[in-house]
């Protein structure tokens, strides 16, 4: 754990070093930029609430991805699962518009969101286990489809009275918004759910048979089958967990943040969560911290282009650098493992 943490801190520093370099090249003063990011993310209670608003969906997606990574699946489709969660939740909330019993429809929206994300993940799972389609391609394809569905809904069946626009569907009435902390644009429900997700995931992965079986199938599918496990069923189960948590994130985006369905409802949190989980070395104790770091970076850099008069495409470059840095750290870790332990692919196994 300590060693893990040290490695992760080191790689985060590497990420910072890279960004500094990029900022220098772009002609922006790096130090001022970091001050801005810091102030823009942790400078006030209000800003912190924005950070938490990003941290919550990131953490939920990361929790979900821990299940799929555990069984060795690359659930790239997590992005689409967030979107479908949002779509299903919106559908439920639309039913409640102008009606009685808002609480009922809010609860319904959460159930629908979880089901929507889960079903979308299950689809990728079936393509993998029944059709032999690689989950990465299935996931990517389904992400495009989900985005298409959202656009179609916004410009078609769910368009605003009057004109359809990229700004999304009609706002829900206030009684269908999640309750917020007084004076802050942030809901305690989301915070509670994210912390709950961390606890539940940690518990399931460590203390239950499901967690052990996911690990076993991920370690060696053939041997797991011979030991009596059902690899396909476990894969579907992992996908349902991942999709369910992603769908929950989508529901929170709809009911707690935007109060409508917008084209960019997922905010790329799914993709970002993949980075978070890899960078935290698939460790549930570390993932929330890394997610927090990314959330700060995300929120803090929003105003950067304006404040420092640099092109806003720079944040895209920085995101790209992050991806490369994470992959670099992965490769470096893999190498260290081989060097010190001599387990897989090592010359040490000279035992007959």
């Amino acid at each position: 754990m300590i060693r893990n943490l040290a490695e992760i801190l080191l790689s985060l520093m590497g990420v910072l070093l890279f960004t500094t370099l990029i900022l220098l090249i772009a002609g922006a003063p790096p130090f001022a930029a970091y001050i801005h990011i810091f102030k823009g993310s942790l400078g006030s209670l209000n800003k912190l609430s924005h950070v938490l608003n990003a941290w919550i969906p990131l953490t939920l997606c990361s929790c979900g991805l821990l299940y799929t990574f555990r069984i060795g699946l690359w659930n790239i489709g997590v992005e689409g699962q967030v979107m479908m969660g949002a779509v299903f939740a919106t559908a439920a909330l639309r039913l409640g518009m102008g009606g009685e019993a808002p609480l009922f429809y809010l609860v319904l929206a959460f159930a629908a969101g979880i089901i929507g994300g889960g079903l979308w993940a299950l689809l990728a799972g079936f393509l993998k286990t029944r059709g032999g389609v690689n989950e990465i391609f299935a996931g990517l394809g389904l992400n495009f489809v989900a985005q298409g569905i959202i656009l179609w809904l916004i410009f078609g069946p769910w368009k605003r009275p009057g004109i359809a626009s990229m700004s999304g569907t009609e706002l829900f009435p206030i009684n269908l918004w999640l309750p917020q902390f007084p004076g802050l644009r942030m809901s305690p429900v989301g915070l509670f759910l994210a912390i709950g997700a961390i606890a539940v995931t940690a518990m399931i992965l460590r203390y239950t048979r499901i967690g052990l079986q996911l690990k076993a199938v991920g370690g060696n599918e053939r041997a797991a089958f011979l030991l009596g496990l059902n690899p396909a069923r476990n894969m579907l189960l992992a996908m349902i967990f991942a999709g369910g948590f992603a769908g929950l994130a989508g529901t929170l985006q709809v009911s707690g943040i935007y109060h409508r369905l917008i084209p960019a409802i997922s905010s790329n949190y799914g993709y970002l969560a993949l980075l978070v989980v890899m960078l935290s070395n698939y460790d549930i104790r570390i993932a929330p911290l890394v997610a927090f770091f990314f959330a700060c970076l995300n929120v803090g850099s929003i105003q950067l282009p304006m404040m420092l008069q640099i092109d806003s495409s720079l944040s895209g470059v920085i995101q790209g650098i992050l991806v490369l840095a994470v992959l670099g750290v992965q490769a470096w870790r893999a190498r260290i493992k081989i060097g010190t332990q001599g387990v897989k692919g090592s010359p040490g196994g000279a035992n007959p």
């Binding site: 690990k215 060696n220 053939r222 041997a223 030991l227 059902n230 001599g342 000279a350 035992n351 007959p352």
Partner: protein, 482 residues
Amino acid sequence: MEIALQNITKDYGSVRANDHVTMRVVPGSIHGLLGENGAGKSTLMKILSGYTPKTDGEIRIDRGIVEYESPAHAAGLGIGMLYQDPLDFPLLSVLENFKLGQSSSDMTALRIRLTDLCRRFGFTLDPDAPLASLTIGERQQLEILRLLEKGIRTLILDEPTTGISGTQKAALFSALKQLADEGRSVILVSHKLEDVEALCDRVTVLRGGKGAGEMDSPFDPDQLMTLMFGTRPKPPPRSAEAPGGPVLNFTSIHARGGRTGLKSCSVLIRENEVVGLAGLEGSGQGVFLRTAAGLIPPLSGEIHLKGQPMKRQNHHGFKRKGVNFLPSGRLEEGLIPGLTLAEHSALQNGGGFWVRWPGAIADAARRITNFRIKGEPNLSVESLSGGNQQRLLLSFLSENPTLLLLENPTRGLDVESANWVWEHLHRFCAKGAAIVFASSELDEILAQADRVMVFFNGAVIKDVRTQETDLRELGLAIAGRA
């Protein structure tokens, strides 16, 4: 070069793989390192080759103490090690592999060097052949030449005779003698007495991580066995039960798989029977075992288990009927790398939502004691030596199986471990189970089985009682002349 290892100790967590081992290698000699599986031979040699750091002790080379700073350090001093799993690049050609790590990059010169070296040692390697087309033995030859070209003065070989043919073994041994005559030192790691007897001038024996003794040639095999095992192992007694009711019944089974598939196979196997499957590797034995385990669905024909038809049942259905399958790939098919012994235990004793970790750890500890596994509940299985992995797999066989299907159950085990495994297996037979096992060792089949089936090209071409046949007859059948 003169090498002296003094009081070398190595701890892997709480496992002491080497315990104050001392060993001296005289220049120009062939030195054997003998010991049963898990004795610590590979560990000691990995320390000498700079691959793993030692916990304690001294390495002296030409009387000077050295502390390796990196794995390359040992190579720089002239120590090269041939690992059992070759470290070469299958996609490159022979010549390109030869070039790896050489200071020169002049391909023409290297080609000439390679051809010269081949001639000198009587190896036949085509420089332009893709490496993937070579046998294990040829890859070994190439690796030896590559190390020689790098200028090594001491060559370590870890279990080099496993998996190579008799001719290749002869070529290897004569090459090693030549190296020693040139004044280089050779360290030969093996668990086979015969290798050491054929080649070595002096031998160091390890037992349980400690040095058990040293001996000069000519060796007294009895004494070596005593050093290896403490007391000499006896072959286990054979089961004397008469065959009982039918267990497995194949009627005209055709199945796909492997190189040959399985062709028109009809067989009846009874309770208490031990059946050995002989044949060249990949002649249908593997397909037979996997079909009988429900892992390969037959194309046509019928399978009955204890009289019941097994149509459209997968392996789990067979398993519920008491069929146990033990694959030969321990870390590929049998165990799950990355999981500890306790985690394997927990998977075995399925049921319930929660894993009861204290129970799983206690269960793993029980298996470790009962099956004499060298390891700990919290070690991951890939850190066990091959023999201990096999013991762990055996511990997962169910208590009262009806049919045991075993693929090379003792491959790579030393005599004592193999005897121990068979003693254990025969106990199942006494309780009414049937055992079907594939083995490439005819001796083992003749010693352990009541009946032998010889496979050739996907078909059973001979099916006899072991008492009514002999090595010569079986050898002919294996070659297709039944």
